[in-house]
């Protein structure tokens, strides 16, 4: 899996919560500048951690249920899930090293 997977409210449970490996979801929207800022980093991590972490993106404009369920009121928000549970949550545009450290903790 080279590219981040696009997930929606409909397949979130199947793809993320029931994922065999840890999953990281980038909650984003087109009108959010910092989301654009971290998008290349998220894409890099999807490539570098292929097979170890399922990296996914959810557009909060098109999907309201999941962001509301996790109380997301700011984007970009990255949530790392392991066995269906939230293990890390990062809000705002941060550097690759911060995201990567959180990923490594979840592995």
């Amino acid at each position: 899996m080279a590219e981040p997977l696009q997930v929606s409210d409909a397949d979130f449970e199947q793809e993320i919560l029931k994922s065999d490996i840890p999953a990281m979801v980038d909650f984003w929207a087109a009108w959010c500048g910092p989301c654009r800022a971290i998008a290349p980093v998220v894409e890099e991590l999807a490539r570098d951690y292929a097979g170890k972490v399922k990296v996914a993106k959810m557009n909060v404009d098109e999907n309201a249920k999941t962001p509301a369920k996790y109380g997301i009121r700011a984007i970009p928000t990255l949530i790392i899930f392991k066995g269906g549970q939230v293990v890390e949550q990062i809000t705002g545009a941060v550097s690759r090293s911060i995201i990567e450290n959180a990923l490594k903790k979840a592995l």
Binding site: G33, R73, I75, T91, A93, R96
Partner: protein, 313 residues
């Protein structure tokens, strides 16, 4: 003839860094721009830029960033997405330390900008991302038909009010002085919203605490003159109270002002020959896209002259 990897390395890809890149490219300097995230800097989080000359209808921060990038790349600027860990001054070349190696350059322009200042009150850190926000354009839409607060009184705070108005039911504007610092034009627009009852201005007031279990539920504010405390029921609070410089990575390399911004002279030179600073990271009175652009062009020309002199020995 001195040797190095690049004639010039620019650290930071906001308007100051990108403008320096345009000038350096046209001067035919071999130039690399290093940006931690993506080019544009704070412009990227600005909805509509209305005070940058040449765009009478205004331009989105994203588009302006992208145009500056294209213009710089047209003249040969190389941009890499990379965080700089350390700057080691040397003679004649300075060394930039990256996570995966290091690069040398004859001249350096530091344009790492600034980030949002936090209030430093109880509840703030806990509720960031859960109602407390530093980016109205990112998070405003989560507060549709809700009561929210904006903290601040400068250009950024007032501009964000104009953006948030389209979502929020009511906006409490909390400002610690008895008048705004922001542009008169923005003040007039905010006062129009006040007349319509959309915006309620709390003058001379400070936020003392943000309250809420999982999400923001209220802010406790205090009038600094009467000392009267009020509890405002709000679900969102946007904070625009100024900037902190991104200079922590420099450690004690360069003299900084009391706010942590880099001292320069009129040609953007720092105390170390060949190291320049431009844009919001520099110690100065006003921080605008236009002033960052001015700094960037001056710094690049000064760097070009410096390199010429080095070559002549």
């Amino acid at each position: 003839m001195p040797e190095w990897d690049y004639d010039l390395i620019i650290i930071g890809g906001g308007p100051g860094g990108l403008t320096a890149g345009i000038y350096a490219g046209r001067a035919r300097l071999k130039t690399l721009l290093l940006e931690k995230l993506i080019h544009g800097g704070q412009m990227m989080t600005t909805d509509l830029v209305e005070n940058y000359p040449g765009f009478p209808e205004g331009i989105t921060g994203f588009e302006l960033s992208d145009r500056m990038r294209q213009q710089a790349e047209r003249f040969g600027l190389l941009i890499r997405s990379q965080e700089v860990l350390e700057l080691k001054p040397g003679k004649p070349a300075h060394t930039v330390v990256l996570p995966d190696g290091q690069l040398t350059a004859g001249a350096i322009i530091i344009a790492t900008g600034a980030r949002y200042r936090r209030l430093g009150v109880p509840g703030e850190d806990k509720l960031v991302g859960r109602g407390v926000s530093f980016c109205a354009t990112c998070d405003g839409a989560f507060f549709k038909d809700e009561a929210i607060a904006m903290v601040g009184g400068g250009d950024n705070a007032l501009t964000e009010i104009l953006f948030l108005d389209r979502f929020a039911k009511k906006i409490h504007l909390i400002h610690r002085r008895d008048q705004f610092r922001g542009a008169k034009y923005l003040q007039e627009r905010v006062f129009e919203f006040e007349k319509l009852g959309k915006v309620e201005i709390h003058w001379d007031s400070e936020v003392k605490e943000f309250l809420g279990q999982d999400n923001l539920e209220a802010a406790k504010i205090r009038n600094v003159k009467t000392l009267k405390e009020t509890l405002l029921p709000i679900t969102g609070a946007f904070i625009a109270i100024g900037m902190l410089p991104n200079t922590g990575w420099l450690k004690d390399l360069l003299p900084l002002d009391e706010g942590g911004f880099i001292f320069t002279d009129v040609i953007m030179a720092t105390e170390i020959p060949g190291i320049f600073a431009a844009g919001d990271v520099r110690s100065k009175l006003w921080r605008q896209i236009s002033t960052a652009v001015g700094d960037g062009s001056v710094a690049a020309i000064a760097a070009e002259n410096y390199l010429e002199e080095l070559k002549r020995g």
